[in-house]
Amino acid sequence: MSAALSIALAGNPNAGKTTLFNRLTGARQHVGNYPGVTVEKKEGFFTWKGHEIKVTDLPGTYSLSAYSVEELVARDFIVNERPDVVVDIVDASNLERNLYLSCQFLELGVPVVIALNMIDVARSRGIEIDADKLAELLGVPVVPIIARSGKGVDKLFDTILETAGTAKNIHPVMLRYGFDIDQALSEMLPLIEDNNLLTDQYPARWIALKFLEHDEQILEKARAANAGLTDRLLQICEKITNHLQQTMEVYPEAVIADHRYGYIKSVLHQGVIHEKFVGDRLYTSDKIDKIVTHRLLGPVIMAAVLYGLYTFTFNYSTSLVDLLATVFSTADTWVNAHLPDGPLKSMIISGVIDGMGGVLGFVPIIMFMFFGIAVLEDSGYLARVAFMMDRIFHFFGLHGSSVMPFIVSGGISGGCAVPGVMATRTLRSPKERMATLLTVPFMNCGAKLPVLTLLIGAFFSAHQARYMFLATMAAWLVALIAAKFLRMTVLRGESTPFVMELPPYRFPTLRGLVIHTWERTWQYIKKAGTVILGISIMLWAMMTYPGLPQDQVNTFARQRQIIEQKLQQLKTDATADDNIRPAGSNLMVELETLNSNEARARLRNSLAGRIGIALESVSRYAGFDWQTNIALVGGFAAKEVIISTLGTAYSLGDVSTENTTSLKERLAGDPHWNPVVALAVLAFIMFYAPCFVTIVCIAREAGSWKWAFFSMTFNTIFAFALAVCIYQTGLFLGLGG
């Protein structure tokens, strides 16, 4: 048994990297994030012939430039962690473009083994590749494999071991980039070598190349190491750039890319590739695309698919959600029966168990959603969705892929922002992704629905369906406009290039789907779960403490005692007299009212209650009373809590989301409430701070709490401004009654 060997999997997106990774490591893998960025870092282990091998699955990239986070992460990993072997997975059916990345590994001078994947697909397209010839010309081992079936993978392992054993002194491959660039390189090289500028990390020639490509990361590092020299090198670059512009109207990076492709072509033309059929042929994929991306039929199919994903996520997961709910209510009952009354019991029930329920309650939904998305992603359909939706979403500063998180969050009302926020992972453009992340909570999630139904039912019952539809439309409108606003302000900047590949359709493998789904779900439980549990306990404390002062507790206790005594009296007097019944039920009502009043007093006195009352001085501009304020504070725990808190604040006892009749009548009859107030509250609830579970997920996905706090304040201020507008306009028009 020797020390662990470290290998990195690199390659273009859709080249089969993840399939190979899953095949190698199976369940022995770990998903995390690269520090400070939101790119997934996947690691795993496997053993081969007594060697423990650590595999890192690098993000799929087309190149190693510094323009995308993925590329930077992949490059930094290879340079800083120095894996023993870089396994470059190359799609045999699209060799030319895939070798562009391989070419850059050669320039970087790292030990590479090329895994020539999907030779079966290539063969079916009439492409035969001479792997030995390719290996000879590139100077690195090339192993043909089929990652899906595992064919050739054993040979790949052997080659990796061999390469790791011998590859100690690899010399970077020297490509020619044409007279002008080569001239500049030869001017820059001695300067870099003599001053040892970053040469401990990168080959000198590579550094010079990156200067010519205007690579921000390298320029920054170089400036920090030797500012004077950097300026001198940049002068050389400027000279050559101007020269190229004047003579050929091209930029150095284009010339460099051009010569890389030239090198690849020259390799391929030396008998590496044999194509049997010439000209265009319609492959299965193209046939499917003829229908699926059809001008008219395409959007119809897409709507059906997205609706299907939505139904699958939220409807099919219900039995699991219900099962979990039963487990937690059983736990509640058990604790209730076995622990003495008191703060500990209250904390365990309302804080811990309900909190755990809050964390785990989302798990089935997240699991189903990621499974559904994995199917769409792995099959290649997601790229088509982005392709069809981009025209609309780009207008609002978003990306075609943004549509899915919006739908999941409640674009079809009744979704959930937690999986919605997590679904933004499929977006690769950082600014568009952030804008999506921050605006999906505006959608009408399933927890807001009962609250909206309550208010609409109480004040606009004549047009219930119309108002619900308007609410959905308003959510879309606000979310898209907010996205546009964010992209023009805090997230200002050029759109990330849209240029993307429409990969051929493929059948997803069940193994891939299951691993994909599980790792993402587990990440949610592990990363978000603990924080959510903590905040849940904190919110419980806010709604509970400080308790009522002792004298008030005594007063309530005394009153309760009196009623109970009367009840007792009635029971002992029971002589089957019919007159007792009304008297008894009157007493029962009195007791209930007393309990409700005590609950209301307790809530009013708690920290949340005090905040609600203190806010009344501000919130009256939007027409909210302190009862509404407390409910809105409670709504930060989960939007459906608004209903039960309103119930308590209006002394109605327990009001459940299923049965809101009493609360509806109470609000409709309350002199403070009227349609204008209801509309203002409605708007506020739709758009104010997302629930804290969403906030935690936003922090996780955005990679910083800064954005989570931004989301809270931005949404709340916006929602309040809107509510004030509605209320004041209503008052002005004299609609307030």
Partner: protein, 74 residues
Amino acid sequence: MKLRTMKTGQTGKIHAITVQGSLGLRLCEMGLVPGTSIKMEGRDPVKIRLHGQVLTLRNNEADHIEMNVQEEEQ
């Protein structure tokens, strides 16, 4: 002639890429370098075929690609 103005079904060779920075480099990385043959498959967003793969671009991105149109079908 700009790529965007090509008709669906037309083929041509890339003459030049007229944009620098992230977009320029990205286009190169995806195989859009001078001399590459392209077949136009659809517009808005632009859909093209090269090296047996299908790529899509936004209209304004396609404006930075100068083409030499070779032949016309139909």
